[in-house]
Symmetry: C2
Subunit: 86 residues, 2 copies
């Protein structure tokens, strides 16, 4: 199943108002223990890059970090205000 199928599947249930949204997912599969955790720093930089394209307020950004087995998954969900383009 492709990510798009997964996304369309999860979206159909939520009858949310049609708003422009941007979802960024960063999945880091580690090959072994240890190694620096650069996801938090990377997250800040990714949001900074995105803010160059769309004007986004801190309240529009939801961040979640999940860890399981060898995976760290960082998910950033941004609801874009109407007419948010730069």
């Amino acid at each position: 199943m492709s990510f798009l199928d997964y996304l369309l599947g999860t979206k159909k249930k939520s009858a949310s108002v049609a708003r422009e949204r941007l979802q960024i997912i960063l999945a880091h599969e580690r090959a072994g223990r240890g190694g620096p955790d650069y996801l938090p720093a990377l997250q800040q930089e990714l949001i900074a890059v995105i803010s160059k394209y769309v004007s986004v307020g801190q309240d529009d950004i939801k961040v979640s970090l999940e860890r399981q087995d060898d995976y760290d998954v960082l998910e950033v969900n941004i609801v874009l205000p109407e007419g948010a383009k730069r």
Copy 2:
């Protein structure tokens, strides 16, 4: 189902060698027709940001862009060379 469950589900089938990987997914849900398509430019900048954290060669990066309904999904898969940290 969370993205992590989706990811773990897809990974179990592929008995690939344990390599460090980074997967970036950018899902843009448009609220209507038109509007500039900034994903390609955003993609270049995201890869540039990531290259600041891990040394990545062009051959290690696979990019795919899918479009369906109101969604554009950009997927960047990076296999990190051993000892790739900066």
